[in-house]
Amino acid sequence: MVELQNPFKKITSLDVALEQLHDGMTIMFGGFGGVGSPPTLIEGMIAKNLTDLTLIGNDTGFPQIGIGKIVSQGRVRKIIASHIGSNPIAGRLMNEGRLEVEFSPQGTLVERIRAGGMGLGAILSDVGIDNEIVSAGKKRIELNGRTYLVEPALTAQVSIVYAKKADPYGNLIYDKSARNTNPLVAMAGNFTIAEVEEIVPLGSLSPEEIVTPGVFVDMIILSSGVNWKWAWE
């Protein structure tokens, strides 16, 4: 095995990465229905017994898939997501008052995450403006004769993402539809940990193909691979 150079000191072990995560934190995760969620970090978070978390991400996965594994164990105080339908345990915890769920329309949610990553304060959208749950507590603005909701940017103390390849600077490329929310989540973390299938030498990714520039990535760990069975299997 070729020893990888680590000039930016971003490549590290799961254990060192987990030192960044603590009880009560706000953590943003990449993935869509579990696809593209970082399995090794999720397993590590469970092993570390993290609790009282606030999570931000597209959905609650399935009970034994993706972030669902953490949600199902009651380790989450609150989640901001667009749906929880594929994880009945999340629905039960919510109905029992043990899990607070803030619903955001999917496209609005990812724009809010992106806005956080891009250093903006909010975006204006008219999606869900007639909906009392979506619009609750949100400011409204008239602009050119139309009314919009002010949808505040979202950031997190730590973001965890899953990618196909990283170089030592943290430049990331993704695999097919496992890209989904990962590039947005990667930007929105105040500290971002990327779990990747492969770490390649600096210069071996083309500058054209890089999806997430490494400046948004603080730490890189190698993935042990997906350790759950997909719903369709």
């Binding site: 229905g33 399935f62 594929s86 999917q106 979506v134 097919k176 539809s177 989904n180 947005l184 719903a231």
Partner: protein, 221 residues
């Protein structure tokens, strides 16, 4: 009261007639996912997925699935020539910018003015809206494919939805196992029905006034 596959396929076949060459189409889970089976093979349609794919192809053969290539429902797909992958924020940009020609969704209820209620049953099922609000309010044509009545036989097409709305005045076409309705200028019009039913049955199972098209057609498949 699930519909059998034959009936669901007939609904999907009818929905497929709304799709023409070159369109960008988003399909919800359930019956809408059957629609591609009823399109001519020569037709070029770009299927869109909210997670970040444009240009989905048929389901892969068993054993050929790729866990990193799934649609928004989490099921394995393939891609056609000309397909692209992108992040979810771009996928929703396409929806909000009006690039989706046809969106075909399931629903819990639809009102006679085209209101859609398909994201929550308070106190019971709380799936969340996912991408339904964007699709409902921004797709150029919104088609609802659903059972005519709910499990207990109650009409799902109503004067006014009793469940929380996903979006107002957004539905253009309703296709059920009984009939096809167009909603134009907030008026519900019966334009076609399957040969297995009658106008009287449709009226009795629909909880609002219905206009009947002058050239009402019977679907013979």
């Amino acid at each position: 009261m699930g519909l059998n596959l034959d009936v669901r396929n007939k609904m999907a076949k009818r929905a497929a007639e709304e799709i023409t060459d070159g369109m960008v189409v988003n399909l919800g889970i359930g019956i809408p996912s059957l629609v591609p089976n009823h399109l001519p093979e020569t037709m070029t349609v770009m299927f869109h997925a909210e997670n970040g794919i444009l240009g989905m192809g048929p389901s892969p053969a068993t054993g050929k699935e790729d866990g990193n290539l799934c649609n928004a429902g989490g099921f394995p797909v393939t891609v056609v020539p000309g397909a692209s992958y992108f992040d979810s924020v771009t996928a929703f940009g396409m929806i909000r910018r009006g690039k989706i020609d046809v969106s075909i969704l399931g629903s819990l209820q639809v009102s006679s003015t085209g209101d859609l209620a398909n994201w929550i049953i308070p106190g019971k099922k709380v799936p969340g809206m996912g991408g339904a609000m964007e699709l409902a309010s921004k797709a150029n044509k919104l088609i609802v494919l659903m059972n005519h009545t709910d499990k207990t036989g109650r009409p799902k097409i109503l004067e006014k939805c009793t469940l929380p709305l996903t979006a107002k005045k957004c539905v253009d076409l309703i296709i059920t196992e009984l009939a096809v309705f167009e909603i134009v200028n907030e008026k519900l019009m019966l334009i076609q029905h399957f040969h297995t039913t009658t106008v009287d049955e449709i009226i009795s199972k629909t909880a609002c006034d219905i206009l009947i098209a002058e050239n009402l057609k019977v679907i013979d498949f």
